[in-house]
Subunit: 515 residues, 2 copies
Amino acid sequence: MARRSGGRQARIASRKSALAEDLKPVRAGIPGGQYRPLDEAGIAAIDTTVFKILEEVGFADATDHCIEVCTAIGAIVENGRLKFPETVIRDTLDKCCRKVIMYGQQAKHDLDLSGSRVHLSTAGAAVMIADPEHNEYRESSAQDLYDMARITDKCEHIHMFQRTCVTRDIDDPRVLDINTAYNSVMGTSKHVGTSFSDPAHVQETLRLLHIIAGGEDKWRERPFVSISCCHVVPPMKFAKETLNCIRVAVEGGMPLLLLSAGQSGATAPACLAGTVAQAWAECLGGLVYVNAIKPGAPAVLGTWPFVSDLRTGAMSGGSPEQAILSSACAQMGNFYGLPTGTACGMTDAKFPDFQAGAERAYTATSAAISGANIVYGSAGMYASLLGACPESLLLDNDILGATLRITRGIEVSEKSLSFDVLKDVCLGNKGHYLESAQTLEVMQTEYIYPEFADRSSPVEWQEQNKPVILEKAIAARKEILNNYHPMHISDEIDQQIREQFPIHLPRETFGRSKI
Amino acid sequence: MARRSGGRQARIASRKSALAEDLKPVRAGIPGGQYRPLDEAGIAAIDTTVFKILEEVGFADATDHCIEVCTAIGAIVENGRLKFPETVIRDTLDKCCRKVIMYGQQAKHDLDLSGSRVHLSTAGAAVMIADPEHNEYRESSAQDLYDMARITDKCEHIHMFQRTCVTRDIDDPRVLDINTAYNSVMGTSKHVGTSFSDPAHVQETLRLLHIIAGGEDKWRERPFVSISCCHVVPPMKFAKETLNCIRVAVEGGMPLLLLSAGQSGATAPACLAGTVAQAWAECLGGLVYVNAIKPGAPAVLGTWPFVSDLRTGAMSGGSPEQAILSSACAQMGNFYGLPTGTACGMTDAKFPDFQAGAERAYTATSAAISGANIVYGSAGMYASLLGACPESLLLDNDILGATLRITRGIEVSEKSLSFDVLKDVCLGNKGHYLESAQTLEVMQTEYIYPEFADRSSPVEWQEQNKPVILEKAIAARKEILNNYHPMHISDEIDQQIREQFPIHLPRETFGRSKI
């Protein structure tokens, strides 16, 4: 009994001390790829179709600049469509950036997108906030965006903050774009993704980011904001204004997310294989343009095909077809050896309920274990991207921790196979492993423990007055928003920004005093 | 506009007609295995360790009969432990049954466990019912078991009913075992799994099953009930009484589930690789005994390692470690080419909430795509198997449908790659695929539609008065239990059974008139 109690005390002591970073059970960038929804023949057939689409169908609506730089490297204009012969794609694949780093404002948040390394990010342009406390959907505001950035900053397993909602209280598109970037980078020091409706807004925001970075050269060394570009209106039509944004971003050293967001059965083929092929063709077309502007410019291939519920035409982000589409796209990304992001972890539910948990979990987990370099939209998104839920970020953080733990998988080594431990326990008639040194040693490195999920027994749960997980999350959201104001950007820099840009929210809102 | 409306009407007409069985997007037995948490070297190292454990450590507490028949084929007794040299295991692997069929009372429910074919089942021995309508846990009863069998009978994606809860209103262990089998087979015509505390109960229940089958020969042709045997008390100790049950079951033609349910860090090594190795060693040890009694007797390898939350020692069925343990066990099962069941889809939550959805989804999906032949415990289980929730079966059916859709994956063919459809849409300036013949053609075969999950927009959801998914499930549970009484067993047979066995529930409860 004494020994047993000793073991238990040691375990208690052990879990009270903070875990060194390299001993944590999971971290950003764990390699995926153990899940391969496509076999070799399937990959080859999709690859062939991708090249055929680019060569024989090509893109409508290229800009003059796009046509100019792409034809200069071998692209062809035919019947008003910009087509890419195989050699053009192969040349692009030879010179493009294969190791994109998504820098944080702080180096500890840098994300290396090489290989099959997996990272998890928010993303979306929700027009509403899902408010489970008041059981309602309401318009999203600039404050909401800042709040979600702050909460994300506290969530270990959400590695990047791509803007989640539209700041609907700002009418002017220029002011909206600037404030979207500003509120995001003020709310978190993790890498930020945002978007722009006009190349002039990209230009102006770059100036703002130079101030934060401490100069343009510093920004170019560690660009901590990426631009999300829907460069294509599926199927196979370029978005002219976005191509113009791409040009400014590439020249300004801003990493790009080249986004193809077709919807199967509507703007992409109803057959999933065809949707994957179209998504990859559309993203590779964007990559040709980016590299024609500047070879090696950092770009993430954003194969984000979505699913239509063909009974209604509505998008279904929580469907199992979404899980396999995104996973297959990630697998193709690993095949091409390109930094690949895909959208998974969304739900069609309105609030964090049973449906939401299930849909988020099976979609996010599938995409992660398939080796997506960034799983966008994996936290906070509801009603198929129409709603964003701040509380959910905290709950999703648990799911994403679990997702990463699954992605890490099982290490097999002589030590972990535990034969000697087993022999000792069995032949020594010890009956159990509770007192084995190994058990204490690996309890923090082999296992991850959730923050909100309830593992109590029914009796303990009753003694605790039957806690409700959503209520715990609502309380935690309030606690963070009342007390947590990241200060990675100094008052002086903030003041400089405010003197030069139309910043919407008063300093007090940001937990800072008036200057 | 007219064309578009025509397409929409055709889609509506199409979805109203019932789908032929072979056109359904998913079915029982879809092959898994696309997810491989272990690499080749990991599989080989675990395999080697499994053989070492069986040869060098062996089992304590074998029965005389087990020692007799196993030593007759080469097993060795050393220091009171029954050890299996490699040749004994290899011989067993040569002669054992690799294509187990879990028969239903109706042939449409037969489950072929060969290859990596995936099936989903309930399982558990919950002592409580999780009642979300009244926000409480209460003792489970015989009626509850019958009710859960009936609900399962209505759930397309739950392919088998292994008993979910203990009939705590029956004290006598013999009466309990008989009524557990009876209530299950009366409630569903799907394959039933049950368990027994005494070999005499197996014997007696076999007589009951002969009556239902229409004679012992008919039973032996299509045994529709399997016995769940915890033949081992981990680590590496046989359970004597269960070995005696195994003997009776094998001789009586009842398929077996050989269950190793160690708990990592407690009754199995804390390192997951070691837990997988121990689970496989324990199950293969059981398989040697079964085949020593009768070569080729149908047995499912039940590698069910569980996870301890090492902070408290409590089991955590919803943990990500559970997902990878079970998936790795399934992968080893495919490696050995043996019919393999594992436990996944459980949750630590108390009711169908966000946590429950997430934990069920990531565990069940991982196990399915890893190619587990039966994912046991994938529906209805709460509080780490302590509670069973009837309503949840209905909600879980949606998740399991999605799980199967993910398992099916993406078919890649010239047709599904849709190049000609894409070319037609893009070069014909059609702008979308909504009117493509292919879209209408595949909307039912390529996509699965959930029953309870809500895909409405926030506006529609508000117009519908903000439906709550759990309330929909509670209403559906009531509807089924009030109105659905399976009648696959005739009144005459029921009467025969009642004359010979201590049947607990009155006929009226079963929706039948008194005779």
